[in-house]
Protein backbone atom coordinates (compact mmCIF):
# COMPACT_ATOMS: atom_id res chain seq x y z
CA UNK A 1 0.00 0.00 0.00
CA UNK A 2 1.28 3.43 -0.90
CA UNK A 3 2.47 5.53 1.98
CA UNK A 4 2.10 9.24 1.19
CA UNK A 5 4.92 11.49 2.43
CA UNK A 6 4.11 14.69 0.59
CA UNK A 7 0.58 15.75 -0.28
CA UNK A 8 0.15 18.93 -2.30
CA UNK A 9 -3.45 20.08 -2.34
CA UNK A 10 -4.49 22.83 -4.75
CA UNK A 11 -1.34 24.83 -4.04
CA UNK A 12 -1.19 28.48 -5.04
CA UNK A 13 1.86 30.59 -4.33
CA UNK A 14 2.01 34.32 -4.97
CA UNK A 15 5.19 36.39 -4.81
CA UNK A 16 5.30 40.11 -4.24
CA UNK A 17 7.79 41.70 -6.57
CA UNK A 18 9.08 45.23 -6.15
CA UNK A 19 10.39 47.66 -8.68
CA UNK A 20 8.67 47.30 -12.01
CA UNK A 21 10.55 48.87 -14.88
CA UNK A 22 8.16 51.68 -15.79
CA UNK A 23 7.72 53.06 -12.27
CA UNK A 24 9.62 56.32 -12.32
CA UNK A 25 10.21 56.04 -8.61
CA UNK A 26 10.96 59.72 -8.07
CA UNK A 27 10.30 61.35 -4.72
CA UNK A 28 7.50 63.47 -6.22
CA UNK A 29 5.81 60.42 -7.75
CA UNK A 30 5.97 58.62 -4.41
CA UNK A 31 4.48 61.58 -2.59
CA UNK A 32 1.61 61.88 -5.07
CA UNK A 33 0.96 58.17 -4.73
CA UNK A 34 0.78 58.38 -0.94
CA UNK A 35 -1.42 61.49 -1.03
CA UNK A 36 -3.70 59.86 -3.59
CA UNK A 37 -3.77 56.67 -1.46
CA UNK A 38 -2.92 54.70 -4.56
CA UNK A 39 -1.38 51.29 -4.52
CA UNK A 40 2.28 51.32 -5.40
CA UNK A 41 2.54 50.59 -9.10
CA UNK A 42 5.93 49.01 -8.70
CA UNK A 43 4.57 46.24 -6.49
CA UNK A 44 3.39 43.45 -8.70
CA UNK A 45 2.19 40.07 -7.70
CA UNK A 46 3.44 37.05 -9.54
CA UNK A 47 1.21 34.04 -9.42
CA UNK A 48 4.00 31.48 -9.46
CA UNK A 49 2.04 28.33 -8.74
CA UNK A 50 -1.57 28.01 -9.83
CA UNK A 51 -3.34 25.11 -8.25
CA UNK A 52 -1.02 22.11 -8.09
CA UNK A 53 -2.24 18.84 -6.62
CA UNK A 54 -0.27 15.62 -6.31
CA UNK A 55 0.71 12.91 -3.85
CA UNK A 56 4.23 11.56 -3.40
CA UNK A 57 4.85 8.27 -1.63
CA UNK A 58 7.67 6.96 0.52
CA UNK A 59 10.67 5.96 -1.53
CA UNK A 60 9.73 8.08 -4.54
CA UNK A 61 12.26 10.20 -6.35
CA UNK A 62 10.37 12.90 -8.18
CA UNK A 63 11.90 14.82 -11.03
CA UNK A 64 10.47 18.30 -11.60
CA UNK A 65 11.01 19.56 -15.14
CA UNK A 66 9.91 22.61 -17.05
CA UNK A 67 11.33 25.76 -18.58
CA UNK A 68 12.86 28.60 -16.57
CA UNK A 69 10.25 30.44 -14.53
CA UNK A 70 7.71 27.64 -14.67
CA UNK A 71 7.61 27.38 -10.88
CA UNK A 72 9.96 24.47 -10.19
CA UNK A 73 12.02 26.19 -7.50
CA UNK A 74 8.92 27.80 -6.02
CA UNK A 75 7.31 24.37 -5.71
CA UNK A 76 10.34 23.08 -3.82
CA UNK A 77 10.35 26.08 -1.49
CA UNK A 78 6.68 25.61 -0.76
CA UNK A 79 7.22 21.91 0.02
CA UNK A 80 10.13 22.90 2.27
CA UNK A 81 7.77 25.20 4.16
CA UNK A 82 9.85 28.33 3.61
CA UNK A 83 7.25 29.91 1.30
CA UNK A 84 3.74 30.10 2.69
CA UNK A 85 0.93 29.06 0.33
CA UNK A 86 -1.54 31.74 -0.72
CA UNK A 87 -4.22 29.12 -1.02
CA UNK A 88 -4.32 25.36 -0.67
CA UNK A 89 -1.77 23.50 1.36
CA UNK A 90 1.29 21.30 1.38
CA UNK A 91 1.41 18.42 3.85
CA UNK A 92 4.64 16.64 4.74
CA UNK A 93 6.06 14.40 7.40
CA UNK A 94 8.27 16.56 9.55
CA UNK A 95 10.54 19.02 7.85
CA UNK A 96 11.86 18.86 4.37
CA UNK A 97 15.41 19.96 3.61
CA UNK A 98 15.90 22.26 0.67
CA UNK A 99 19.16 22.31 -1.17
CA UNK A 100 19.61 24.75 -3.97
CA UNK A 101 22.14 26.62 -6.02
CA UNK A 102 21.36 29.91 -4.31
CA UNK A 103 21.28 28.36 -0.90
CA UNK A 104 24.30 30.34 0.17
CA UNK A 105 25.31 29.86 3.73
CA UNK A 106 27.71 32.55 4.86
CA UNK A 107 30.03 33.49 2.03
CA UNK A 108 32.52 35.34 4.22
CA UNK A 109 33.18 32.34 6.36
CA UNK A 110 35.45 29.38 5.75
CA UNK A 111 34.06 26.13 4.43
CA UNK A 112 34.82 24.58 7.79
CA UNK A 113 32.61 27.03 9.67
CA UNK A 114 29.87 26.65 7.10
CA UNK A 115 29.88 22.90 7.58
CA UNK A 116 29.59 23.31 11.35
CA UNK A 117 26.92 26.01 11.12
CA UNK A 118 24.94 24.10 8.52
CA UNK A 119 24.93 20.94 10.61
CA UNK A 120 23.92 22.83 13.75
CA UNK A 121 21.19 24.71 11.88
CA UNK A 122 19.74 21.43 10.67
CA UNK A 123 19.31 20.51 14.31
CA UNK A 124 22.31 18.24 14.88
CA UNK A 125 23.91 18.23 18.29
CA UNK A 126 27.49 19.38 18.83
CA UNK A 127 28.73 15.79 19.11
CA UNK A 128 26.88 14.71 15.97
CA UNK A 129 28.35 17.65 14.09
CA UNK A 130 31.85 16.74 15.19
CA UNK A 131 31.32 13.12 14.23
CA UNK A 132 29.94 13.99 10.79
CA UNK A 133 32.40 16.77 10.00
CA UNK A 134 35.13 14.72 8.32
CA UNK A 135 32.73 12.71 6.19
CA UNK A 136 31.06 15.91 4.94
CA UNK A 137 34.41 17.41 3.96
CA UNK A 138 35.52 14.18 2.30
CA UNK A 139 32.27 13.87 0.40
CA UNK A 140 32.41 17.45 -0.85
CA UNK A 141 35.93 16.89 -2.14
CA UNK A 142 36.92 20.54 -1.72
CA UNK A 143 40.17 19.42 -0.07
CA UNK A 144 42.40 22.14 1.33
CA UNK A 145 39.92 24.82 0.32
CA UNK A 146 37.91 23.94 3.39
CA UNK A 147 40.09 26.46 5.29
CA UNK A 148 39.27 29.29 2.88
CA UNK A 149 36.27 31.62 2.79
CA UNK A 150 33.41 30.23 0.71
CA UNK A 151 33.42 33.26 -1.56
CA UNK A 152 36.77 32.08 -2.92
CA UNK A 153 35.21 28.81 -4.11
CA UNK A 154 34.30 28.13 -7.70
CA UNK A 155 30.56 27.73 -8.20
CA UNK A 156 31.03 23.99 -8.58
CA UNK A 157 32.94 23.66 -5.34
CA UNK A 158 30.39 25.77 -3.48
CA UNK A 159 27.46 23.66 -4.61
CA UNK A 160 29.36 20.47 -3.81
CA UNK A 161 29.95 21.65 -0.28
CA UNK A 162 26.31 22.68 0.10
CA UNK A 163 25.12 19.35 -1.17
CA UNK A 164 27.52 17.56 1.18
CA UNK A 165 26.20 19.54 4.15
CA UNK A 166 22.54 18.90 3.37
CA UNK A 167 23.19 15.23 2.59
CA UNK A 168 24.97 14.74 5.92
CA UNK A 169 21.65 14.24 7.60
CA UNK A 170 19.14 11.64 6.53
CA UNK A 171 16.16 13.78 5.65
CA UNK A 172 12.74 12.34 5.27
CA UNK A 173 12.17 14.67 2.36
CA UNK A 174 15.17 16.02 0.45
CA UNK A 175 14.59 18.76 -2.12
CA UNK A 176 17.44 19.27 -4.56
CA UNK A 177 17.30 22.38 -6.71
CA UNK A 178 19.79 22.13 -9.56
CA UNK A 179 22.51 21.72 -6.96
CA UNK A 180 24.22 19.10 -9.02
CA UNK A 181 24.25 21.09 -12.23
CA UNK A 182 27.67 22.58 -11.61
CA UNK A 183 29.38 19.51 -10.24
CA UNK A 184 31.96 17.61 -12.28
CA UNK A 185 31.47 14.06 -13.55
CA UNK A 186 33.02 12.44 -10.51
CA UNK A 187 30.85 14.41 -8.09
CA UNK A 188 27.73 13.65 -10.10
CA UNK A 189 28.33 9.95 -9.65
CA UNK A 190 28.87 10.44 -5.93
CA UNK A 191 25.77 12.57 -5.46
CA UNK A 192 23.73 10.24 -7.63
CA UNK A 193 24.72 7.38 -5.34
CA UNK A 194 23.94 9.43 -2.25
CA UNK A 195 20.47 10.26 -3.57
CA UNK A 196 19.84 6.55 -4.12
CA UNK A 197 20.98 5.90 -0.53
CA UNK A 198 18.63 8.54 0.82
CA UNK A 199 15.78 7.02 -1.16
CA UNK A 200 16.63 3.61 0.21
CA UNK A 201 16.58 5.03 3.73
CA UNK A 202 12.82 5.43 3.31
CA UNK A 203 13.05 9.03 2.19
CA UNK A 204 11.55 11.02 -0.63
CA UNK A 205 13.66 13.02 -3.04
CA UNK A 206 12.57 15.90 -5.28
CA UNK A 207 15.00 16.79 -8.00
CA UNK A 208 14.82 19.94 -10.10
CA UNK A 209 17.19 19.61 -13.02
CA UNK A 210 17.65 20.90 -16.52
CA UNK A 211 19.84 17.90 -17.12
CA UNK A 212 17.06 15.59 -18.25
CA UNK A 213 19.33 12.58 -18.33
CA UNK A 214 19.94 13.04 -14.61
CA UNK A 215 16.18 12.99 -14.10
CA UNK A 216 15.79 9.83 -16.17
CA UNK A 217 18.51 8.06 -14.24
CA UNK A 218 17.50 9.17 -10.76
CA UNK A 219 13.76 9.55 -10.72
CA UNK A 220 10.92 7.08 -10.82
CA UNK A 221 8.34 9.84 -11.24
CA UNK A 222 8.27 13.14 -13.02
CA UNK A 223 6.21 16.31 -12.84
CA UNK A 224 6.25 18.64 -15.84
CA UNK A 225 5.37 22.22 -14.96
CA UNK A 226 4.51 25.11 -17.18
CA UNK A 227 3.20 28.52 -16.11
CA UNK A 228 2.81 27.24 -12.59
CA UNK A 229 0.58 24.35 -13.53
CA UNK A 230 1.15 20.66 -14.09
CA UNK A 231 1.23 19.68 -17.76
CA UNK A 232 1.83 16.03 -17.11
CA UNK A 233 2.89 13.84 -14.25
CA UNK A 234 3.44 10.14 -13.88
CA UNK A 235 5.73 7.20 -13.50
CA UNK A 236 6.55 6.84 -17.17
CA UNK A 237 9.52 9.18 -16.85
CA UNK A 238 11.06 8.55 -20.23
CA UNK A 239 7.89 9.17 -22.23
CA UNK A 240 7.13 12.39 -20.37
CA UNK A 241 10.70 13.62 -20.81
CA UNK A 242 10.50 12.85 -24.52
CA UNK A 243 7.22 14.76 -24.85
CA UNK A 244 8.74 17.67 -22.90
CA UNK A 245 11.71 17.73 -25.26
CA UNK A 246 9.35 17.65 -28.24
CA UNK A 247 7.23 20.49 -26.78
CA UNK A 248 10.36 22.61 -26.26
CA UNK A 249 11.30 22.07 -29.90
CA UNK A 250 14.38 19.99 -29.11
CA UNK A 251 15.88 17.11 -31.03
CA UNK A 252 14.32 13.77 -30.09
CA UNK A 253 16.61 11.60 -28.00
CA UNK A 254 17.92 8.43 -29.59
CA UNK A 255 16.94 5.50 -27.41
CA UNK A 256 17.65 1.83 -27.36
CA UNK A 257 14.44 0.12 -28.53
CA UNK A 258 14.27 -2.34 -25.62
CA UNK A 259 15.95 -0.74 -22.58
CA UNK A 260 14.91 2.79 -23.66
CA UNK A 261 18.25 4.00 -22.35
CA UNK A 262 19.85 6.87 -24.22
CA UNK A 263 22.24 5.96 -27.00
CA UNK A 264 25.30 8.17 -27.00
CA UNK A 265 26.85 9.55 -30.16
CA UNK A 266 29.74 11.21 -28.43
CA UNK A 267 31.69 9.76 -25.56
CA UNK A 268 32.32 11.55 -22.30
CA UNK A 269 29.23 13.73 -21.89
CA UNK A 270 26.69 13.26 -19.18
CA UNK A 271 26.91 11.27 -16.03
CA UNK A 272 27.94 7.68 -15.82
CA UNK A 273 25.64 5.43 -13.90
Amino acid sequence: MADPMVVVDDLHVVYKVYGRGNDRGTAAASLLRILGRKRRASIREVHALRGLSFVVNRGDAVGVIGRNGSGKSTLLRAVAGVLPPEQGNVYTTGHAALLGVNAALLEDLTGERNVILGCLAMGMSKQETKAKYQSVVDFSGVGNFIDLAMKTYSSGMGSRLRFAIAAAKTHEVLLIDEALATGDAEFRVKSHNRIQELRAAAGTVFLVAHNLEEVELTCNRVIWLERGQIVEQGEDVISIVDRYIAASGGQPVKRHPVTRMRIKDEVGTGAAS
Binding site: V46, A103, L120, G123, G228
Partner: protein
Protein backbone atom coordinates in the same frame (compact mmCIF):
# COMPACT_ATOMS: atom_id res chain seq x y z
CA UNK B 1 -14.85 21.06 -1.94
CA UNK B 2 -12.12 20.20 -4.43
CA UNK B 3 -14.36 20.97 -7.38
CA UNK B 4 -15.00 24.55 -6.42
CA UNK B 5 -13.72 27.16 -8.79
CA UNK B 6 -11.20 29.06 -6.77
CA UNK B 7 -10.98 32.83 -6.83
CA UNK B 8 -7.31 32.46 -7.72
CA UNK B 9 -7.91 30.55 -10.94
CA UNK B 10 -6.04 32.49 -13.56
CA UNK B 11 -7.78 34.10 -16.52
CA UNK B 12 -7.34 32.56 -19.93
CA UNK B 13 -4.56 33.93 -22.02
CA UNK B 14 -1.38 35.79 -21.40
CA UNK B 15 -0.90 38.86 -19.26
CA UNK B 16 -2.07 39.51 -15.75
CA UNK B 17 -5.13 37.74 -14.42
CA UNK B 18 -8.23 39.34 -12.90
CA UNK B 19 -6.40 40.02 -9.65
CA UNK B 20 -3.63 41.81 -11.54
CA UNK B 21 -1.21 38.97 -11.03
CA UNK B 22 1.40 37.88 -13.51
CA UNK B 23 2.28 34.31 -14.22
CA UNK B 24 5.31 32.88 -15.96
CA UNK B 25 5.60 32.87 -19.75
CA UNK B 26 4.72 29.75 -21.69
CA UNK B 27 2.31 28.40 -24.27
CA UNK B 28 0.17 26.59 -21.77
CA UNK B 29 -3.03 28.43 -21.00
CA UNK B 30 -4.64 28.41 -17.63
CA UNK B 31 -7.37 25.83 -17.41
CA UNK B 32 -5.90 23.66 -20.18
CA UNK B 33 -4.74 21.02 -17.80
CA UNK B 34 -6.93 18.69 -15.86
CA UNK B 35 -4.77 17.34 -13.09
CA UNK B 36 -5.54 13.64 -12.82
CA UNK B 37 -5.25 12.48 -9.25
CA UNK B 38 -4.03 8.98 -8.76
CA UNK B 39 -6.02 8.21 -5.68
CA UNK B 40 -9.18 9.55 -7.35
CA UNK B 41 -11.70 8.70 -4.70
CA UNK B 42 -14.18 10.37 -2.44
CA UNK B 43 -11.46 11.34 -0.01
CA UNK B 44 -10.06 14.88 -0.28
CA UNK B 45 -6.30 15.40 -0.31
CA UNK B 46 -6.46 17.14 3.04
CA UNK B 47 -8.15 14.10 4.57
CA UNK B 48 -5.65 11.78 2.95
CA UNK B 49 -2.80 13.81 4.43
CA UNK B 50 -4.42 13.81 7.85
CA UNK B 51 -5.02 10.07 7.75
CA UNK B 52 -1.30 9.49 7.15
CA UNK B 53 -0.26 11.84 9.91
CA UNK B 54 1.12 14.55 7.64
CA UNK B 55 1.12 18.16 8.75
CA UNK B 56 1.21 21.40 6.74
CA UNK B 57 4.77 22.23 5.63
CA UNK B 58 4.49 25.87 6.62
CA UNK B 59 3.04 25.09 10.02
CA UNK B 60 3.90 27.41 12.90
CA UNK B 61 4.83 25.36 15.95
CA UNK B 62 3.03 26.15 19.21
CA UNK B 63 4.90 28.67 21.31
CA UNK B 64 6.22 26.13 23.81
CA UNK B 65 7.42 23.85 21.02
CA UNK B 66 9.03 26.85 19.38
CA UNK B 67 10.92 27.69 22.57
CA UNK B 68 12.09 24.08 22.75
CA UNK B 69 13.30 24.22 19.12
CA UNK B 70 15.21 27.39 19.92
CA UNK B 71 16.79 25.77 22.95
CA UNK B 72 17.90 22.87 20.75
CA UNK B 73 19.57 25.34 18.40
CA UNK B 74 21.48 27.13 21.17
CA UNK B 75 24.81 25.87 19.79
CA UNK B 76 23.84 27.14 16.37
CA UNK B 77 23.00 30.57 17.77
CA UNK B 78 26.36 30.82 19.54
CA UNK B 79 28.34 29.45 16.60
CA UNK B 80 26.49 31.81 14.24
CA UNK B 81 27.28 34.81 16.45
CA UNK B 82 30.94 33.91 16.84
CA UNK B 83 31.34 33.19 13.14
CA UNK B 84 29.79 36.51 12.11
CA UNK B 85 31.87 38.36 14.64
CA UNK B 86 35.00 36.87 13.11
CA UNK B 87 33.82 37.42 9.53
CA UNK B 88 33.19 41.10 10.27
CA UNK B 89 36.91 41.81 10.52
CA UNK B 90 38.48 39.26 8.19
CA UNK B 91 39.20 41.90 5.53
CA UNK B 92 40.78 44.40 7.93
CA UNK B 93 44.55 44.29 8.39
CA UNK B 94 44.25 44.68 12.15
CA UNK B 95 41.69 41.88 12.24
CA UNK B 96 40.15 41.04 15.58
CA UNK B 97 41.99 43.95 17.21
CA UNK B 98 39.16 46.15 15.91
CA UNK B 99 36.81 44.60 18.40
CA UNK B 100 38.72 46.44 21.13
CA UNK B 101 39.89 49.35 18.98
CA UNK B 102 36.35 50.41 18.05
CA UNK B 103 35.18 51.15 21.62
CA UNK B 104 38.60 52.60 22.43
CA UNK B 105 38.43 55.05 19.53
CA UNK B 106 34.85 55.87 20.46
CA UNK B 107 35.99 56.75 23.97
CA UNK B 108 38.84 58.77 22.47
CA UNK B 109 36.45 60.86 20.40
CA UNK B 110 34.29 61.64 23.41
CA UNK B 111 37.35 62.47 25.46
CA UNK B 112 38.49 64.89 22.77
CA UNK B 113 35.12 66.55 22.28
CA UNK B 114 33.69 66.59 25.79
CA UNK B 115 36.89 66.41 27.81
CA UNK B 116 39.06 68.87 25.91
CA UNK B 117 37.20 70.93 23.29
CA UNK B 118 33.96 71.61 25.17
CA UNK B 119 35.43 72.01 28.61
CA UNK B 120 32.13 72.24 30.43
CA UNK B 121 31.09 70.29 33.46
CA UNK B 122 27.26 70.60 33.42
CA UNK B 123 27.21 69.94 37.14
CA UNK B 124 28.34 66.36 36.71
CA UNK B 125 31.39 64.98 38.50
CA UNK B 126 33.67 62.82 36.31
CA UNK B 127 31.91 63.95 33.17
CA UNK B 128 34.19 61.90 30.88
CA UNK B 129 33.38 58.65 32.72
CA UNK B 130 29.71 59.66 32.69
CA UNK B 131 29.65 60.12 28.92
CA UNK B 132 31.73 57.06 28.02
CA UNK B 133 29.64 54.76 30.21
CA UNK B 134 26.45 56.20 28.76
CA UNK B 135 27.64 55.87 25.18
CA UNK B 136 28.77 52.26 25.59
CA UNK B 137 25.55 51.16 27.27
CA UNK B 138 23.37 53.02 24.77
CA UNK B 139 25.40 51.65 21.85
CA UNK B 140 24.53 48.11 22.90
CA UNK B 141 20.80 48.77 22.60
CA UNK B 142 21.13 50.98 19.52
CA UNK B 143 23.26 48.51 17.59
CA UNK B 144 21.00 45.62 18.58
CA UNK B 145 18.07 47.53 17.08
CA UNK B 146 19.81 48.53 13.88
CA UNK B 147 21.36 45.13 13.25
CA UNK B 148 18.22 43.10 13.98
CA UNK B 149 16.10 45.36 11.76
CA UNK B 150 17.87 43.95 8.69
CA UNK B 151 18.62 40.44 9.94
CA UNK B 152 15.87 38.73 7.93
CA UNK B 153 16.74 40.53 4.69
CA UNK B 154 20.48 39.95 5.01
CA UNK B 155 20.07 36.25 5.73
CA UNK B 156 17.20 35.51 3.34
CA UNK B 157 19.26 32.83 1.57
CA UNK B 158 19.88 31.04 4.82
CA UNK B 159 16.20 31.32 5.72
CA UNK B 160 15.17 29.89 2.36
CA UNK B 161 17.78 27.15 2.45
CA UNK B 162 17.33 25.61 5.87
CA UNK B 163 14.43 24.99 8.16
CA UNK B 164 15.19 26.29 11.64
CA UNK B 165 13.39 28.52 14.13
CA UNK B 166 13.83 31.97 12.62
CA UNK B 167 14.18 33.65 16.00
CA UNK B 168 17.65 32.09 16.10
CA UNK B 169 18.86 34.81 13.73
CA UNK B 170 17.88 37.96 15.71
CA UNK B 171 18.99 36.15 18.85
CA UNK B 172 22.36 35.46 17.28
CA UNK B 173 22.69 39.13 16.32
CA UNK B 174 21.99 40.29 19.86
CA UNK B 175 24.59 37.79 21.10
CA UNK B 176 27.09 39.40 18.71
CA UNK B 177 26.29 42.81 20.17
CA UNK B 178 26.58 41.41 23.68
CA UNK B 179 30.05 40.11 22.86
CA UNK B 180 30.97 43.59 21.60
CA UNK B 181 29.49 45.14 24.71
CA UNK B 182 31.58 42.90 26.97
CA UNK B 183 34.70 44.00 25.10
CA UNK B 184 33.60 47.62 25.54
CA UNK B 185 33.37 46.91 29.25
CA UNK B 186 36.98 45.74 29.17
CA UNK B 187 37.89 49.15 27.76
CA UNK B 188 35.57 50.97 30.15
CA UNK B 189 37.05 49.59 33.37
CA UNK B 190 40.52 51.15 33.03
CA UNK B 191 38.94 54.44 31.91
CA UNK B 192 36.77 54.56 35.03
CA UNK B 193 39.66 53.61 37.30
CA UNK B 194 41.87 56.21 35.67
CA UNK B 195 39.23 58.92 36.15
CA UNK B 196 39.17 58.22 39.86
CA UNK B 197 36.26 55.79 40.37
CA UNK B 198 37.05 53.28 43.11
CA UNK B 199 36.63 49.55 42.60
CA UNK B 200 33.85 48.51 45.01
CA UNK B 201 31.28 45.77 45.54
CA UNK B 202 28.78 48.01 43.76
CA UNK B 203 30.42 47.03 40.50
CA UNK B 204 28.76 43.63 40.78
CA UNK B 205 25.41 45.37 40.21
CA UNK B 206 26.54 46.04 36.64
CA UNK B 207 26.02 42.32 35.94
CA UNK B 208 22.24 42.24 36.59
CA UNK B 209 21.91 45.60 34.85
CA UNK B 210 23.61 44.21 31.74
CA UNK B 211 21.59 41.02 31.96
CA UNK B 212 18.30 42.93 32.08
CA UNK B 213 19.42 45.14 29.22
CA UNK B 214 20.29 42.06 27.17
CA UNK B 215 16.86 40.56 27.81
CA UNK B 216 15.26 43.85 26.79
CA UNK B 217 17.40 43.97 23.62
CA UNK B 218 16.44 40.41 22.70
CA UNK B 219 12.72 41.14 23.07
CA UNK B 220 12.85 44.47 21.29
CA UNK B 221 15.22 43.02 18.68
CA UNK B 222 12.74 40.25 17.85
CA UNK B 223 9.98 42.81 17.34
CA UNK B 224 12.25 45.02 15.23
CA UNK B 225 13.35 42.00 13.16
CA UNK B 226 9.75 41.32 12.17
CA UNK B 227 9.04 44.97 11.43
CA UNK B 228 12.20 45.24 9.36
CA UNK B 229 11.36 42.07 7.43
CA UNK B 230 7.86 43.20 6.53
CA UNK B 231 8.29 46.96 6.19
CA UNK B 232 11.11 48.22 4.02
CA UNK B 233 10.61 51.77 5.21
CA UNK B 234 11.28 50.77 8.78
CA UNK B 235 15.03 50.35 8.42
CA UNK B 236 15.20 53.78 6.78
CA UNK B 237 13.40 55.34 9.71
CA UNK B 238 15.26 53.51 12.44
CA UNK B 239 18.49 55.58 12.51
CA UNK B 240 16.40 58.70 13.21
CA UNK B 241 14.44 56.95 15.92
CA UNK B 242 17.57 55.72 17.65
CA UNK B 243 19.23 59.14 17.38
CA UNK B 244 16.22 60.79 18.98
CA UNK B 245 16.33 58.12 21.62
CA UNK B 246 20.00 58.92 22.23
CA UNK B 247 19.18 62.56 22.90
CA UNK B 248 16.32 61.87 25.31
CA UNK B 249 18.10 59.16 27.27
CA UNK B 250 20.62 61.29 29.14
CA UNK B 251 23.68 59.88 27.44
CA UNK B 252 25.57 63.17 27.25
CA UNK B 253 23.66 65.09 29.90
CA UNK B 254 22.03 64.30 33.20
CA UNK B 255 18.23 64.04 32.97
CA UNK B 256 17.99 65.08 36.62
CA UNK B 257 19.62 68.42 35.83
CA UNK B 258 16.70 69.33 33.56
CA UNK B 259 14.61 70.09 36.68
CA UNK B 260 14.84 73.83 36.11
CA UNK B 261 13.26 73.78 32.65
CA UNK B 262 11.14 70.61 32.41
CA UNK B 263 8.18 69.44 34.44
CA UNK B 264 8.66 66.49 36.76
CA UNK B 265 6.30 64.45 34.57
CA UNK B 266 8.53 64.88 31.55
CA UNK B 267 11.60 64.06 33.62
CA UNK B 268 9.92 60.92 34.97
CA UNK B 269 9.10 59.80 31.44
CA UNK B 270 12.64 60.40 30.26
CA UNK B 271 14.12 58.65 33.26
CA UNK B 272 11.92 55.60 32.95
CA UNK B 273 12.55 54.99 29.27
CA UNK B 274 14.43 51.68 29.04
CA UNK B 275 17.67 53.05 27.59
CA UNK B 276 17.93 55.75 30.28
CA UNK B 277 17.16 53.20 32.98
CA UNK B 278 19.85 50.74 31.94
CA UNK B 279 22.34 53.58 31.53
CA UNK B 280 21.57 55.00 34.98
CA UNK B 281 21.74 51.60 36.66
CA UNK B 282 25.08 50.81 35.04
CA UNK B 283 26.47 54.23 35.93
CA UNK B 284 25.33 53.91 39.53
CA UNK B 285 26.93 50.48 39.72
CA UNK B 286 30.29 51.43 38.30
CA UNK B 287 30.69 55.09 39.30
CA UNK B 288 30.91 56.14 42.93
CA UNK B 289 30.72 59.77 41.74
CA UNK B 290 27.26 59.06 40.31
CA UNK B 291 26.01 57.26 43.41
CA UNK B 292 27.21 60.07 45.67
CA UNK B 293 25.83 62.89 43.56
CA UNK B 294 22.51 61.35 42.50
CA UNK B 295 19.70 63.76 43.48
CA UNK B 296 17.77 62.42 46.44
CA UNK B 297 20.57 60.18 47.66
CA UNK B 298 21.14 62.42 50.71
CA UNK B 299 18.68 64.24 53.01
CA UNK B 300 17.35 67.39 51.39
CA UNK B 301 19.33 70.52 52.15
CA UNK B 302 18.18 73.67 50.44
CA UNK B 303 21.44 75.56 50.81
CA UNK B 304 23.64 72.79 49.47
CA UNK B 305 21.20 72.07 46.62
CA UNK B 306 21.38 75.73 45.63
CA UNK B 307 25.17 75.56 45.77
CA UNK B 308 25.06 72.76 43.20
CA UNK B 309 22.60 74.66 41.00
CA UNK B 310 24.91 77.66 40.92
CA UNK B 311 28.54 76.89 41.71
CA UNK B 312 28.26 73.25 40.66
CA UNK B 313 27.58 74.30 37.08
CA UNK B 314 30.24 76.98 36.97
CA UNK B 315 33.51 76.57 35.23
CA UNK B 316 36.58 76.96 37.39
CA UNK B 317 34.83 76.14 40.67
CA UNK B 318 36.08 73.12 42.65
CA UNK B 319 34.45 69.86 41.56
CA UNK B 320 33.22 69.11 45.10
CA UNK B 321 30.25 71.44 44.46
CA UNK B 322 29.11 69.04 41.74
CA UNK B 323 28.49 66.41 44.40
CA UNK B 324 26.02 68.66 46.19
CA UNK B 325 23.27 67.64 43.76
CA UNK B 326 22.82 64.74 46.18
CA UNK B 327 21.14 67.18 48.57
CA UNK B 328 18.43 68.11 46.06
CA UNK B 329 15.12 66.26 45.69
CA UNK B 330 15.03 63.69 42.95
CA UNK B 331 13.48 65.44 40.01
CA UNK B 332 11.39 62.70 38.41
CA UNK B 333 10.88 59.06 39.34
CA UNK B 334 11.96 57.66 42.69
CA UNK B 335 15.45 56.16 42.16
CA UNK B 336 14.52 53.37 44.59
CA UNK B 337 12.10 52.04 41.96
CA UNK B 338 14.56 51.98 39.05
CA UNK B 339 15.34 48.28 39.36
CA UNK B 340 11.65 47.33 39.28
CA UNK B 341 11.13 49.31 36.11
CA UNK B 342 14.26 47.80 34.57
CA UNK B 343 12.92 44.30 35.29
CA UNK B 344 9.49 45.29 34.00
CA UNK B 345 10.82 46.58 30.68
CA UNK B 346 12.91 43.45 30.16
CA UNK B 347 10.00 41.08 30.83
CA UNK B 348 7.45 43.06 28.83
CA UNK B 349 9.79 43.47 25.84
CA UNK B 350 10.74 39.80 25.84
CA UNK B 351 7.18 38.48 26.01
CA UNK B 352 5.70 40.90 23.49
CA UNK B 353 8.68 40.73 21.14
CA UNK B 354 8.80 36.95 21.18
CA UNK B 355 5.08 36.47 20.54
CA UNK B 356 5.09 39.16 17.85
CA UNK B 357 8.02 37.54 16.05
CA UNK B 358 6.62 34.04 16.40
CA UNK B 359 3.29 35.04 14.86
CA UNK B 360 4.97 35.63 11.48
CA UNK B 361 7.30 32.61 11.73
CA UNK B 362 6.20 30.95 8.49
CA UNK B 363 6.30 34.16 6.43
CA UNK B 364 9.95 35.17 6.73
CA UNK B 365 11.04 33.08 3.73
CA UNK B 366 8.85 35.13 1.47
CA UNK B 367 11.17 38.11 1.45
Amino acid sequence: MTDQKTPLRARQGAGPDAAGRLSAPGQLQAGDVQTALEHAGAESLADLARRHGLSPAALRPPIIGYLWQLWQRRHFILAFATARNIAMYTEAKLGQLWQVLTPLLNAGVYFLVFGKLLDINRGIPNYLGFVVTGVFVFNFTQRSFIETSSVMKVNIDLVRALQFPRAALPLGYVVIELQQMLLSMVVLVPILLATGEPLTWHWLLAIPALLLQTIFNVGAGLAVARLGAQLDDFSQLLPFLTRTWLYVSGVIFSIASLSSNASSKVITLLELNPAALYITLTRNALMASQRESFPGSKPYNNALCTTWQTLGHMKGEPSRYQYDSAYCHFAGANPAHFWYFAIGWAVVALVIGFVFFWQAETRYGRG
